[in-house]
């Protein structure tokens, strides 16, 4: 949990985040109310400064816990969009996770090159940049989280 900034390389660790979830299969819950609550728990809204879009590499530390069952081939695929345009697709392979463990993983995002016009649009239109994170265990989808982003922080 630290922040290291390397201006010359355009890299930064923007923060540390603890995400608590259990990447195991679970039974369906058909309660409609719980569906809404679960959706709220799977959404995060970020506010970044415009300088964030100038970075080339960004690191984020994610901590997650595993339940009683071991998890094999744990993988996350994350897709970032601005409006209806795919910016980039990220793929992180956690591999095998032992049961009843707390794990820390550092995601390293290599940003795509963004044009000045696109950067301006992204700054001027907060929360129109969105992402989906799909989590898989043994190639089976177990969880889907969402986030949206603003880049006008501090203005």
């Amino acid at each position: 949990m630290f922040c290291v900034l390397e201006q010359d390389l355009g890299q930064a660790w923007f923060g540390s985040l603890r995400v608590s979830f259990h990447p195991e299969q679970d039974e369906e819950d058909e309660d409609d109310n719980s569906e809404l609550d679960a959706s709220a728990g799977r959404f995060v809204r970020y506010q970044f400064t415009p300088a964030f879009l100038r970075l080339r590499t960004v690191g984020a530390t994610v901590e997650f816990t595993v339940g009683e069952k071991p998890v094999s081939n744990f993988r996350m695929i994350e897709r970032h969009y601005f409006r209806d345009r795919l910016l980039k697709n990220f793929d992180f392979d956690f591999g095998f996770c032992i049961p009843s463990s707390r794990n820390t993983c550092e995601h390293i995002y290599e940003f795509p090159q963004l044009s000045e016009d696109l950067i301006r649009l992204m700054v001027e239109n907060p929360y129109e940049t969105r992402s989906d994170s799909f989590y898989f265990v043994d190639n089976k989808l177990i969880m889907h989280n969402k986030a949206d982003y603003a880049y006008n922080g501090g203005q």
Binding site: G15, Q47, Y81, M143
Partner: protein
Amino acid sequence: MEVDINGESRTTLSTLPVPLAEVSPGGRMEAEKPRCSSTPCSPMRRTVAGYQILHMDSNYLVGFTTGEELLKLAQKCTGSEENKEESGPNLRSKQVDSGLTRSSRLYKTRSRYYQPYEIPAVNGRRRRRMPSSGDKCTKALPYEPYKALHGPLPLCLLKGKRAHSKSLDYLNLDKMSIKEPADTEVLQYQLQHLTLRGDRMFARNNT
């Protein structure tokens, strides 16, 4: 393999199977634009991710708001508007926007009295202490909470009848024609399987 926004292939550190465009049950290729999904959907209904921000570099990250917090903020602001006839996705209307505008003013005011890292002004300019590496913030603190409400609430947080993901929009299968490793087919099948199950759930709730 990844591609950037210009469609050019780029080598990456990880092997990344990029899904092809989705295939409908009838076997036809869907000519749908890839777009961000409206509603998160997970087969693990009971598993809810908990987010706890531990450290934020305020040079870059100034706010972090969970879905629950957004709902609470919006509910405080909209208040009686939620009891009006219009509900569900229609909340994304002038009523919600006006409510959010009011809330933004409210929380902007509140933020003057609620700045966890406020330090005395220097040369007439208020400063905010930069968190040191040893600082830990065990509670999610949106430093600019009023800004979290400037944008519309995501569809997944709106009450009422949601626009369910019948259109498979949350799959976001893009159209890039890149050769894929074999396991992508398994991936696509799992994603489509999830969507079909979600559709059956939706149909069952309507009966």
